[in-house]
């Protein structure tokens, strides 16, 4: 793809010291950092169906080289992730050049994200999509006990690989509650129902940008994304917050706020 190659070259010549992208190495897609225009990696640069939480690599890169400017290819979900990470003081967006990639129609539909395109698109054409609420509606139509048994059976397959956390673009803590022996008993498989998953759901509230990588990574096919998406809906309905939407609004669970922030809650009479 010479188009991509030209974009990378242009960024490197104009405003970036290095470009973080994905390359295809004999069928395996992996992240690569291209630092100069003659790099042999340039030929393999690819934007396929594979996704990768590049924001996590960017955090490490910025720690190591705080003065450098990095260009990075972002899909709609990546852009939301970078914005949310910046608000959480993990990234300095002034030193990041985002190259927008719109997901193709087929991919957008398969992924079911509500905004499969970034704010500025350099590659691909914008496709509108509607978020997939089928499973959430199915769960909500069940009785309380049926819901509990449904989740119990899903979570009984969990092998506690931490794949959902490791792949999550929004997870960056050095100390993770999921590894706290007081909250999650070490050595117990499957992890206790429901604490492991409630802890993660609560941490994802106001943070999950709905990329769906957790569900893709889960070896036990647990419908994790629907839980976090539900949390996202709750945050929007009750606290008017949509993670990754803009740089100004802050996660209401991260600061005390004002009385108007809480007026939609039934807890406040």
């Amino acid at each position: 793809m010479s188009e991509l190659k030209n974009i990378v070259k242009e960024r490197l010549e104009k405003d970036a010291d290095a470009c973080l992208c994905l390359k295809n190495e004999e069928g395996t897609v992996l992240p690569v950092l291209i630092c100069d225009v003659d790099s042999p990696d340039l030929d393999g640069v690819e934007i396929g169906d594979e996704r990768y939480p590049l924001g996590k690599i960017l955090i490490e890169l910025q720690k190591e080289y705080p003065e450098r400017r990095f260009a990075v290819f972002v899909r709609g979900c990546d852009e939301r992730a970078l914005i949310e990470l910046a608000k959480l003081d993990q990234l300095d967006l002034d030193k990041v050049v985002m190259v927008g990639v719109a997901c193709g129609a087929e991919q957008a539909e398969a992924c079911g994200c509500s905004r499969p395109y970034p704010s500025e698109i350099a590659v691909g054409d914008k496709v509108e999509a509607a978020p997939d609420r089928e499973f959430i509606e199915e769960v909500e139509s069940l009785t309380e006990e049926e819901r509990r048994e449904l989740w119990r059976s899903h979570f009984s397959r969990c092998i506690k690989c931490y794949g959902c956390r490791n792949i999550c673009p929004m997870c960056f803590c050095k100390e993770c509650s999921l590894e706290d022996p007081h909250l999650v008993e070490p050595g117990l498989i499957p992890p206790e129902f429901p604490s492991f998953h409630i802890i993660r759901a609560m941490d994802m509230a106001g943070r999950c940008i709905d990329c769906g990588l957790c569900e893709e990574a889960c070896p036990a096919d647990i419908p994790l994304r629907s839980i976090y998406r539900k949390m996202q809906e709750v945050m929007e309905d009750k606290l008017d917050y949509r993670p990754g939407e803009d740089l100004e609004s802050k996660n209401p669970l991260s600061f005390l706020g004002t009385e108007t922030d809480i007026e939609k809650l039934e807890e406040v009479e």
Partner: protein, 155 residues
């Protein structure tokens, strides 16, 4: 946790953990005590400086450790000793309640109440009402020795 407690009739007693804020609800509970108001003895109190310090993890942990209900009581909105601590409580509990609801975990087992230092009668009433509610729900399905651990392997 201690062995299951049973009442005189041989029925299993439900256990409720109450997080009370130091400035309002704990004083309210104290007032209920000195006023000799009657309320069920199923409640264990934990005094915290502000309800805003209560992480949802504490609530989950309480259920893990065998509690059947968790009550969080703090100052009325606008009366917080730390001005806005209870805003955080309201937000967190609103979200936690929805998470429990979505997973079918009987969100009626958590309760958030605002009880001031002058509301001894309200505190007693809240405890009476909440205990009745938890008794109707029965012992929590999330108790450690319950089905949650059945079939689990210790690696």
């Amino acid at each position: 946790m201690a062995e299951e407690e049973k009442n005189v009739a041989g029925e299993e007693e439900v256990k409720i953990l109450a997080f009370l804020c130091n400035w309002c609800s704990y004083a309210g509970a104290d007032l209920a005590g000195v006023s000799r108001l009657q309320y069920p003895a199923n409640v264990l109190d934990v005094r915290v400086m502000c309800t805003g310090t209560i992480s949802p993890y504490f609530v989950i942990k309480a259920f893990q450790e065998g509690m059947d209900g968790v009550l969080v009581a703090g100052c009325h909105i606008g009366d917080c000793h730390y001005l806005k601590g209870n805003y955080m409580t309201a937000k967190r509990f609103g979200v936690l309640r929805e998470a429990l609801k979505f997973m079918g975990l009987e969100e009626g087992r958590i309760r958030l109440e605002w009880v001031s230092a002058a509301e001894g009668e309200k505190y007693a009433e809240v405890i009476r009402d909440f205990t009745e509610q938890i008794k109707a729900l029965g012992p929590s399905p999330l108790r450690k020795k319950g089905a949650g651990k059945a079939g689990a392997v210790k690696a």
